[in-house]
């Protein structure tokens, strides 16, 4: 068989984790470089996937399939569609930046304990790589069981990343910070575990159902979808709905959907900004991705059944998240709530069940990843400089650190999805997609863009503008390493904002297929214009003016 | 079941029936006694009784070998073992049947009742209208039949039980055997040690010795007539076999005083004996020792 590209892409970071962890305590600088190297190799492999992937090719490509647990029909099945490819690319791109940004995050812990087996730096980067491996493979898995395993396993490294590494205490005492951090970590773990366990039940249920109808139980997405299509497998409506809810709950927790969102602000607030980026830009995407891949395709009917409720929740998330972001006093929590609002948009797009909506949602996942990464990382640089997360402690930074302020502003503008930057496209697509089917929802969601402007600009105004605060007067501007982190992200934002075609080309076929599985068609416009091409428009004399006055266009 | 031989019977002989009802009652009574007697010895004996009855039932059920074994091993060996231990722990030791755990009795009763009923219900459900006796199985002799099974079908289990028994024996030894790790301290050393620590400089007080009693299980009396804990063996105390005669002693003391008063013919101010009692109560250990030494 051919070279197992997908496995390799997941295996390399895993190996990297091991290698990094193995670096002796004395050589922690080396550990950083090892981690970076492995993340770059992963990036290269992701690039290969991107090249080898043929947008117009089959549904799942580069597939690998081996029997794993025969008795339960569990197969080690990997395969990528356009959506997965896009998200794998996103992950692979972000991780090196996260590593670079977190270059010194573990240093404060060094020497926290005298013993020579104490290796926080190694641990930090190893955990990041571990998360990457698991995220990548859960993007690749086309076997529900395999997906579930890694979807859950992800929690372990994340837990340690959140609970183990945090910001400098700032004005808070070390103990308080520590307690807060462990609280956040435990909250994260409990929420996601709860979701995961409910999903486990649903997974088992799915197996039982398939076992009933197909004779042999299976977890293979492809197989189940085909069976549904051929009518071999028809679940009772009630069963399907229960299973759907089981899956959806887990994903809704992961991609925080109101009211399951409260773990995110704590987690993002307490962890270091690279980890926060890891959470919101990479890990949470697994949730929304899984909604697209599993919820919709395994349980199309139930998805349609649940759509109204989910849309309402999504709308609440959008508005609610934005309003809370406005109300925050803590930079990172503000960004966290902004993310909640954005996840609302993503879910809205997914369940609008239109090409624009789902395509937009997928783009949104990618763009939100990049833009949040940019904003959060810059915020992290800012916070490490001042040692405080409170907005009130800043002011006039723009004067002393113009580059930092500039990048921060661009990140913010991306967050409020300014046209010309990538997020605008996805957000607008989601809005259009939602509006096409549910105009009211579309309009309400549009309120989100005003609120977004509010929280971003308030944040910028309070931190960056105004008279220079004493504490920030001596603040250094971005260092080369930090610039190296931010500049490419911003470049990416601009590029995708101006020329998103490479992305849309990959994503569209996958979206179309998903919709075909769900069996939904885009609503037709009322008065479709036959020739959408450009031709000269000249006002018609008749009816050109309502008061019947004769006009002269001739 | 192979109905070919020994056609399935549905009832047994009347004799057996009579025997069952009579002995069954005995067995149940024995069992009840086992759990209701205050003294362990009595429980043991009643249990033995039940077991013997059971042995008879075994025989009645065609398990001749087992019947014998039951008597020999159980009633003969195990129950004796029990009795030994009971002796060890104190034959007269009677534990009060007062329940200490709240609601334990009720729960026990409830569970027991439910359990029993359910069990009987289960048996009732089982379709056991007919049975084929052991005529055919025991045709070659019951012991031979068992032997055949034990040494063929159940040989491994048999071997393993052997191992189990060995282990049990060894285990019992290990548990009960107490290794003396350090050299026994000589009397001299003990006395020196007492002097050093200043406690019990003289030897411990001896048990009470009277004209009427002379036994180790009677604690010596202090001047005020109360018993001295130190004067009896801890084991006896543990078994609760200490006989306390302080009561009568006190009574006698009081009588003595009165008589002496009458004899002396002059009144004492109130509460002297109380005073004396207090003083004695408050008496420190060496006072006690003086008394013991004086004895």
């Amino acid at each position: 068989m051919s070279f197992p590209l997908l496995t390799a892409t997941a295996a390399v970071p895993a190996l990297g984790a091991v290698a990094t962890a193995a670096v002796p305590a004395a050589r922690r600088a080396a550990a950083k470089w090892v981690a970076l190297a492995f993340s770059l190799v992963t990036l290269a492999l992701a690039a290969v996937i991107l090249v080898r992937f043929d947008p117009d090719g089959g549904r799942f490509q580069l597939t690998e399939s081996h029997a794993w647990i025969k008795d339960f029909g569990v197969r080690y099945e990997l395969g990528v569609d356009g959506i997965a490819v896009a998200l794998i690319a996103l992950t692979a791109v972000l991780i090196p930046f996260i590593i670079l940004a977190g270059w010194h995050d573990a240093d404060p812990l060094e020497g926290a304990r005298p013993n020579r087996r104490w290796r926080p730096t190694q641990g930090f980067f190893a955990l990041i790589l571990l998360v990457e491996a698991m995220v990548v493979i859960s993007f690749e898995a086309t076997d529900v069981f395999v997906f579930y395993i890694f979807f859950e396993a992800m929690l372990i490294p994340m837990y340690f990343l959140i609970g183990g590494f945090g910001d400098r205490a700032g004005e808070r005492s070390e103990e308080e910070t520590a307690t807060q951090r462990s609280y956040a970590a435990v909250k994260f773990l409990l929420y996601n575990l709860a979701g995961g366990l409910i999903m486990l039940a649903a997974v088992v249920g799915l197996y039982a159902v398939t076992a009933d109808d197909l004779g042999t139980g299976t977890f293979s997405l492809q197989q189940i979808v085909d069976a549904r299509a051929s009518g071999q497998l028809d679940m009772a409506a009630s069963t399907e709905r229960l299973l759907f809810l089981g899956f959806f709950f887990a994903f809704a927790v992961k991609a925080p959907l109101w009211p399951l969102h409260t773990w995110l602000p704590n987690a993002m607030g307490e962890s270091t900004s690279p980890v926060a980026v890891l959470i919101t830009a990479v890990v949470d995407k697994v949730g929304t991705f899984a909604m697209l891949r599993f919820c919709l395709q395994l349980f199309p009917e139930a998805s349609k059944w649940a759509t109204p409720v989910i849309l309402v929740l999504a709308l609440i998330s959008i508005i609610y998240g934005a309003l809370l972001a406005i109300g925050q006093r803590d930079i990172k929590r503000l960004i966290a709530y902004a993310s909640i609002s954005h996840f609302g948009f993503i879910i809205l797009g997914i369940f609008a069940m239109t090409t624009q909506g789902q395509g937009g949602a997928t783009l949104y996942m990618v763009n939100h990843g990049i833009s949040t990464a940019a904003l959060m990382l810059v915020a992290g640089f800012l916070i490490t400089r001042r040692g405080s997360r409170l907005i009130a402690d800043y002011g006039g930074v723009q004067k002393v650190a113009p580059v930092l302020a500039g990048t921060f502003l661009i990140g913010g503008l991306a967050t409020l999805s300014l046209p010309g930057l990538a997020p605008f496209i996805s957000e607008f697509l989601v809005l259009v997609g939602a509006f096409a089917r549910y105009p009211v929802a579309g309009v309400i969601a549009t309120l989100g863009i005003v609120l977004a402007a509010l929280y971003v600009l308030i944040l910028y105004q309070r931190t960056m503008t105004g008279p220079v605060k004493e504490e920030v007067r001596s603040m250094p501007d971005l260092r080369p390493r930090e610039l190296l982190v931010v500049a490419p992200l911003i470049a990416l934002l601009l590029f995708l904002g101006v020329y998103p075609k490479p992305l849309t080309a990959i994503v569209n076929p996958a979206v179309d297929h998903t919709l075909s599985v769900v069996d939904e068609k885009d609503p037709k416009p009322d008065h479709p214009v036959t020739d959408a091409g450009w031709f000269h428009y000249s006002p018609k004399p008749e009816g050109a003016s309502h008061d019947g006055a004769s006009g002269g266009a001739k | 079941m192979s109905g070919a031989l020994a056609a399935a019977a549905s009832t047994t002989s009347t004799g057996e029936a009579v025997q069952f009802w009579v002995l069954g009652t005995v067995a149940v009574i024995g069992a009840l006694c086992t759990i209701l007697m205050r003294k362990a010895v009595h429980s043991a004996l009643s249990l033995a009784g039940t077991m013997i009855v059971l042995a008879v039932f075994y025989l009645a059920n065609g398990a001749y070998f087992l019947g014998v074994v039951q008597i020999v091993v159980y009633t003969g060996a195990i129950m004796m073992l029990f009795l030994f231990v009971v002796m060890l722990v104190g034959v007269t030791a009677a534990d009060s049947l007062k329940e200490t755990l709240k609601g334990q009795r009720w729960l026990a009763a409830l569970c027991g009742l439910g359990f029993g009923i359910l069990l009987c219900a289960g048996i009732g459900n089982a379709s056991l209208k007919t049975f084929d006796g052991l005529g055919q199985a025991n045709s070659g002799g019951n012991v031979e039949g068992l032997a055949a099974l034990v040494f063929t079908k159940y040989v491994f289990a048999f071997e393993i039980t052997g191992a189990l028994l060995i282990t049990a024996a060894v285990g019992a030894m290990v548990l009960t055997h107490r290794e003396r790790t350090e050299r026994a301290r000589s009397q001299r050393e003990q006395s020196e040690e007492r002097v050093r620590t200043g406690k019990h400089v003289p030897p411990l007080p001896a048990p009470g010795v009277y004209a009427r009693h002379n036994a180790v299980d009677i604690p010596g009396l202090l001047p005020d007539g109360t018993t001295s804990e130190l004067s009896v063996n801890a084991t006896l105390r543990g078994r609760g076999q200490v006989r306390d005669v302080s009561g009568e002693a006190l009574a006698e003391l009081a009588a003595l005083e009165q008589r002496s008063e009458r004899w002396l013919g002059r009144r004492k101010p109130e509460g002297t004996e109380a005073e004396g009692a207090e003083g004695a109560a408050g008496a420190s250990e060496d006072a006690e020792h003086r008394k013991g030494a004086a004895k």
Binding site: - | G24, A40, Y74, L101, A108, C120, L128, D132, L149, G238
Partner: protein, 99 residues
């Protein structure tokens, strides 16, 4: 009479034994109750072997006895040791099972 009555008897004895285990505090009596229960089982086994017309039941009863013997030996040894150390054979003295 049907041998099933033996089973009822066995059930009865077993229940009594179990109740005893629950009620009594004295470890030794406790053990006796256990023995009672075992015996009840044996009776049941024997009866079954009669009902079914094969000797397996008796074999099992036999093994039960052996095991019971072993158990009693060890158990009593334990009781003795405990008594030595704590001068008591009551299972309630100091609820040791609580942390």
């Amino acid at each position: 009479m049907n041998p099933v009555n033996y089973l009822y008897l066995a059930a009865l004895l077993f229940t009594i034994g179990a109740a005893g285990v629950v009620i009594r505090r004295n470890a030794i009596v406790l053990f006796m109750c256990v023995e009672l229960m075992l015996n009840a089982c044996n009776l049941a086994f024997v009866t079954f072997s009669r009902l079914h017309g094969n000797l397996d039941g008796q074999i099992i009863a036999f093994f039960t006895m052996v095991v019971a013997a072993a158990e009693v030996v060890v158990g009593l040894a334990i009781i003795v040791t405990v008594f030595r150390s704590r001068h008591s054979a009551s299972v309630d003295d100091a609820s040791l099972m609580k942390l």
